[in-house]
């Protein structure tokens, strides 16, 4: 499965050469942040510390980190069992202790990581927050003595490009809110019929 990477051989030998003591922690750290869309998992300082800890040059360190990320992403994609993962890694000549480290890190945090990937949304805009306010409108410029309840819904919609939360304010009267709720109930019925 991993054989088609030409740089795999170099990466494998680099990984085999790393210190076993710090390796499991590196694995679980990468696993934690795998689902985030950020380009690099580590900041500049962290990379320098890693370079020192594993006594690797900057380029070699990048290769090692990318290979580990790739291996784990493939494990997510195929929903591999820990044993299968270990087998595959040993077949590309990764040392047994390193392969075992992969397998145990995957066994510990694998399912959580898969779940986080499942929850990832591809759409440009996503609903993040829901806030609301219930007001009793007593009067307005066009009408006196109202006493009508009004609800204001504040929806926080995040934008993929600008990365800031757009607040959408919507006002409802009692009747309008009831109709909206009925539509949500229809959606819920559809969701229920899926399971």
């Amino acid at each position: 499965m991993f054989l088609f990477l030409c740089s795999v051989r170099k990466a494998v030998s680099l990984i085999n050469g790393t210190d076993m003591g710090k390796f499991p922690r590196l694995l679980s750290r990468i696993l934690q942040k795998l689902h985030l869309k950020a380009e690099s998992n580590f900041s500049e300082e962290e990379e320098e510390k890693l370079q020192a800890a594993f006594s690797l040059e900057k380029q070699d360190l990048h290769l090692v980190l990318e290979t580990i990320s790739f291996i784990l992403e493939q494990a997510v994609y195929h929903n591999l069992k820990p044993a299968t993962l270990q087998q595959q890694l040993e077949s590309i000549h990764l040392d047994q202790d390193k392969a075992e480290a992969f397998a145990s890190a995957w066994a510990a945090a694998g399912q959580d990581t898969i779940e986080k990937f499942r929850q990832r949304i591809l759409a440009p805009q996503k609903l993040e927050t829901v806030g609301w306010q219930l007001n009793l409108q007593m009067a307005q410029s066009a009408q006196a003595k109202l006493k009508s309840p009004q609800a204001v819904l504040e929806l926080g919609v995040s934008d993929e490009d600008s990365k800031n939360l757009k607040k959408v304010f919507v006002e409802f009267s009692h009747q309008e809110l009831y109709e909206f709720y009925n539509k949500l109930e229809t959606i819920q019925a559809q969701l229920d019929s899926l399971t």
Partner: protein, 221 residues
């Protein structure tokens, strides 16, 4: 709102100081109009009233006003005073809901402004007559509020496979919310957020029901 709803008007009230349904201080436009009304003949008054009602319904009345100005013997200033006064008077009267606003009180207040009796009858027929629902509908349309939902479309998708998962099988909801101010928002809602939204809406509805039953709504107008 000094006298609206009370049986007897306040003892020492001067027309210029206001009181009654127009509030504690008489709007200047209404006062000026009341003084000019005495010189007006019934026909011109009726035509001006028709134009004012048309304006209240939201129509553009430039032509009609022009015609009245040509036929009657009124200067532009006098016309402005009369129409603005009538418009303000009718608009304030239409604000008050019918159950608590009695016709006699309205007529009494207008009498205090020394408006001629037959003109009072004409005003009353607008405010309490069967043209009123149309006027009320127009004011409701122009009312200010935060954007309301004009259209709500949704769909439920199930992601079978993605670039990161060969077998995802994850449902998701896409919503398109069109608001009354013309904005359209299309966004995806994760299932967990959807449950949160549904819970919150149900909570607001429950609170609204409680509010409507509480005694604060039984405040006497």
């Amino acid at each position: 709102m000094a006298a609206a709803g009370k049986a007897a008007p306040l003892p020492s009230r001067d027309g210029d100081l206001g009181g009654g349904f127009l509030g504690a201080r008489l709007p200047a436009a209404v006062g000026a109009m009341a003084r000019s009304l005495r010189q007006l003949d019934r026909d011109t008054f009726r035509r001006l009233l028709a134009v004012t009602v048309s304006a209240l319904e939201g129509n553009d009345c430039k032509d009609s006003v022009q015609r009245i100005a040509e036929n009657a013997d009124l200067s532009e200033q006098q016309l402005a005073v009369l129409i603005s006064g009538m418009y303000t008077l009718l608009r304030e009267a239409l604000r008050l809901p019918l159950p608590t606003f009695k016709q006699e009180v309205f007529k009494e207040d207008l009498k205090d402004l020394r408006i001629p009796d037959d003109f009072i009858a004409d005003f009353a027929s607008i405010v309490f007559g069967n043209r009123r629902p149309v006027l009320e509908a127009t004011t409701l349309k122009q009312a200010n509020s935060l954007p309301r939902v004009k259209d709500f479309q949704w769909r439920v998708d199930v992601a079978i496979s993605t670039s990161s998962l060969a077998r995802a099988l994850q449902p998701s909801i896409l919503m398109l919310l069109k608001l009354s101010n013309g904005e359209a928002h299309r966004f995806e809602v994760p299932v967990a957020k959807f449950q949160e939204l549904r819970y919150n809406i149900a909570l607001i509805l429950k609170e609204m029901n409680d509010l409507e039953k509480r005694s604060v709504l039984k405040i006497q107008d």
